[in-house]
Symmetry: C2
Subunit: 287 residues, 2 copies
């Protein structure tokens, strides 16, 4: 009566994202007519029209927008439940309640902090096994939400902590990373304005889920690519202090005076109740 099955949600999400029944059906690996019928049934059961069938295409109604947002959260929660249950059970069978936590970290960030955290936690009396899951640019939120990870290191203001519990671990300034020979590399400090429009060094554009923001700089999706382009004198980058750990000989780091400080948090889903997680958080806040 008012149940909203997972399958229906999946179907609707596909249609709402594609705005095209045929493509959505293909993406779902099914034929178009059953999909049309399923969406109609969903609309009837909810007593609400979700899609505006215009001539030549489909668009979302207000209710459709709502279901797109809320349904995303619901689907994430559902797949998170499945994944975490699988993990809990897989650990369960080999022998004893061998807990395992998946920790998502932005690849390459906070190396030293991560090292200290893992070492300190491993020394705890009954430490769980920690699997470190490198995540793409700002992808930790999604990983926590859909259960790929149990806990994450996040960096405000880049990551949003909305909806998670978190503890502050570290605050650091930001630096500009320049080619060693560049004139600006001789400065003791710089401002954001100084580095944001150097004619010969446009800021690189990071990939976010495969798309790039517009601008003149080179397209990047990997720290190594970026490091190389800087070393070649093609671009400049802004990073937290801890990025000094991976600088090359051809790089020069110059502190930025007016860049917002980067705050590293440890964050986890607010409803988590795991002992292993509690232990990790305790260890982290004591560092």
């Amino acid at each position: 009566m008012d149940t909203l099955e997972t399958r229906e949600l999946r179907y609707f999400m596909a249609v709402a994202e594609e705005l095209h029944f045929g493509r959505a059906a293909e993406r779902l690996g099914m034929a178009q007519p059953p999909l049309s019928r399923a969406i109609q049934q969903l609309e009837r059961r909810l007593g609400v029209s979700l899609l505006e069938r215009n001539r030549r295409g489909v668009s979302l109604t207000g209710a459709g927008e709502m279901l797109l947002h809320e349904g995303r959260a619901a689907l994430d929660a559902t797949t998170a439940a499945a994944r975490r249950t699988r993990r809990a059970g897989g650990a369960d069978s080999p022998g004893g309640p061998r807990n395992r936590l998946v920790l998502a970290v932005k690849a390459g960030a906070s190396h030293e902090l991560l090292h200290k955290l893992l070492d300190a936690y491993a020394a705890e009396p009954d430490a769980a096994e920690i699997e470190v899951l490198p995540s793409g640019t700002c992808e930790q939120e999604g990983m926590l939400r859909d259960g790929r990870a149990d806990v994450a290191l996040m960096h405000a203001p880049f990551n949003s902590l909305a909806g998670f519990d978190s503890e502050e671990l570290m605050t650091e300034g930001q630096i500009a990373i320049l080619p060693a020979g560049h004139p600006l590399a001789a400065q003791r400090t710089l401002s954001l304005a100084d580095v944001s429009d150097i004619p010969d060094l446009p800021l690189a554009r990071w990939s976010r889920q495969g798309t790039y923001p517009p601008g003149p700089g080179p397209e990047i999706h990997d720290q190594t690519q970026l490091a190389q382009l800087i070393a070649l004198g093609r671009t400049v980058a802004v990073f937290p202090d801890s990025a000094r750990a991976w600088l090359w000989a051809e790089h020069t780091a110059v502190p930025l005076t007016d860049a917002p400080p980067v705050v590293t948090h440890i964050a986890w889903p607010a409803h988590s109740r795991s002992l292993a997680l509690a232990g990790l958080i305790r260890t982290a806040t004591r560092l």
Copy 2:
């Protein structure tokens, strides 16, 4: 393959809560054998054993505990999606995108603040319609989670803000509410210790989802009941300052010196993106 249908989740939750297939089946309005089979299928598909079938009864495995917690969140998110979509659509049809927000407030609390908030918001240029939903003791969290409400007034430290976004609205001290004639009512201030074990006035025990904490005091599930019992000289209560609004003539309020301050927040699900909600929050923080 890895989908975890809503129906399966519902079934498992029932069994996990009842720890008894027969009762769970009855609660679900179905027969026991199909339920057994569904749970078996679920376990097979997840590749994990969720329940320990002992002689004479059922208990949860580690994975089962995990699915109980995570599944609750997932089910709440799903019913929230359905409810909010229905609301968004119902408003959609009469005429124009007539937004409506459901605001959960603990019945009787923060009367003055609520009044000011509603008045101020109604004066806004394009204010949505606000439906005030009185909630039981500390039930606002659940209402936000399963979509019965869109936004809530919460009172730290009684409500937990975990998993929600929130803004602080007001801080107030707490008072003891005594029968007017009682000796302690003559004091200018009291401490928690003073009121926690008055021999003739045991603290009342509030109902939480139908159960009562142990203790000598009377069982209460309604502010009016409590007010009456205080007026009759049978009990004493501790409340935030703003409770003075509903005191009777037979009541006396005495400030408590060492009670933790009560902070009223406005809270909402972290993923909300509604314009109407943003307007309400803006109004609230400007009060």
